[in-house]
Subunit: 240 residues, 2 copies
């Protein structure tokens, strides 16, 4: 937690209060902060800044001298279409994509997505994972997350409307590498949409359908990475 | 597991056997492979290739027609000096760095490394995590892993001998970004050594000592990432 994000209703004039148990615990036990200390805070959907601790109670912390003058970092001009992964890795993937600044996330069904993944109670907790990601990445603007339980209608009816310039699909068995693809693009712009499979990747039918709708298959070399690692390796190109 | 790596003693002429319980379970229950099916295999420290299943017993699988003609992908010309992280994330970090092809890994003490981390039983299981990483990344050559429990003597006496060209240390509060650093380097070579902190990063003293021994501090933008995410984002530059 590199900043503490509070909803707008927790602010009043130049004071604010922390009443989320995880955040209160973080201030007390991880930061070990005391009355008079300055905290890095932010307003969800608003600015970043600082505030000073006025009072620490068992379940809430009162802040004063709230200063919110720093605009959050720009979002990446990027939509990530991710095959819904195992619930175990969903939390970290949402956190990481949020911390990286992805603007739009589409969780889509795929052949290798087990049906049970769509029943996972973790899908009800996406807001929580987004908050963790924002507090990690020091941002206040949540990504838009959409669930698409049907692959074919999504690709055929919706996908192309999401692409503002180029689109790619990560595929270890593609003929072209991501860097070859980028060298061919004379605009030097990064793609605005990236499709990434879950464990086991996309099947040939899915690659063909995505390719038919404007997504160029690209690989990142002979090494096959875990979904989490692949997401960070690929999206790192937008940061660096 | 994108290939099954076996130690040299499991091979004999053009046959081989799988007798590791995790690997046997993977073939039976994840791949659902049967007698006559071809598996992607490799010899630890040797080549990659294929073999055909001859027989499946409760605790071992016999292979024939072993063909090991594919050389493993080149290692990255890279040493990663990583502040020893929490045991919980150590496994994934070792797996990912191995899958990415890092040649040398140094786990070093840092101010924010808790003493208890050095007592973790997971440090006895690094070979297991390396094997997982190799089988994920489809490689056969393990990275060299060194433990350095004392930060100052390591930096002062050993670090410079590990640097063959440039070295950097990842630091969110550095003045220069990684991409600015790369643009300044007229050789266009990537650094051969990267230092990455654990949760909470390096303290100023550590940054100063690393800088005094040839490591340029660089940031990757305003967003602060989890150690795992930062490792993959940074090292992705060597893949892409």
């Amino acid at each position: 937690m590199n900043c503490i994000l509070l909803p707008v209703e927790n602010f009043s004039a130049n004071t604010a209060k922390i009443n989320d148990v995880v955040q209160v615990d973080h201030v007390n036990n991880i930061l070990g902060a005391k009355v008079g200390d300055t905290l890095k805070i932010g307003q969800l959907g608003g600015n970043l800044g600082t505030a000073v601790i006025e009072d620490i109670a068992a379940d809430s912390i009162q802040l004063y001298d709230v200063q919110l003058a720093i605009t959050p970092p720009a979002k990446l001009d990027l939509t990530v279409v991710l095959a819904l992964p195992r619930p175990k890795v969903l939390r970290r993937l949402i956190m990481d994509m949020t911390a990286l600044g992805v603007r739009d996330i589409v969780l889509v069904n795929s052949y290798r997505t087990q049906k049970s993944y769509w029943q996972s109670p973790l899908l009800e907790r996406l807001d929580e994972f987004v908050l963790e990601g924002l507090q990690q990445g020091v941002d206040t603007i949540a990504p838009r997350i959409t669930l698409q339980k049907r692959f074919k209608p999504f690709v055929e009816d919706t996908l192309t409307s999401l692409v503002s310039n180029q689109a790619i699909v990560a595929h270890p068995y593609a003929e072209q590498s991501f860097s070859e693809f980028r060298q061919l693009d004379t605009t030097l712009e990064l793609p605005s949409l990236v499709c990434i499979g879950a464990e086991g990747g996309w099947i040939d039918y899915e690659i063909a359908l995505l390719a038919a709708h404007g997504c160029t298959p690209v690989h990142i070399g002979p090494r096959i990475l875990r979904t989490e690692a692949a997401v960070n390796v690929m999206l790192g190109q937008w940061l660096l």
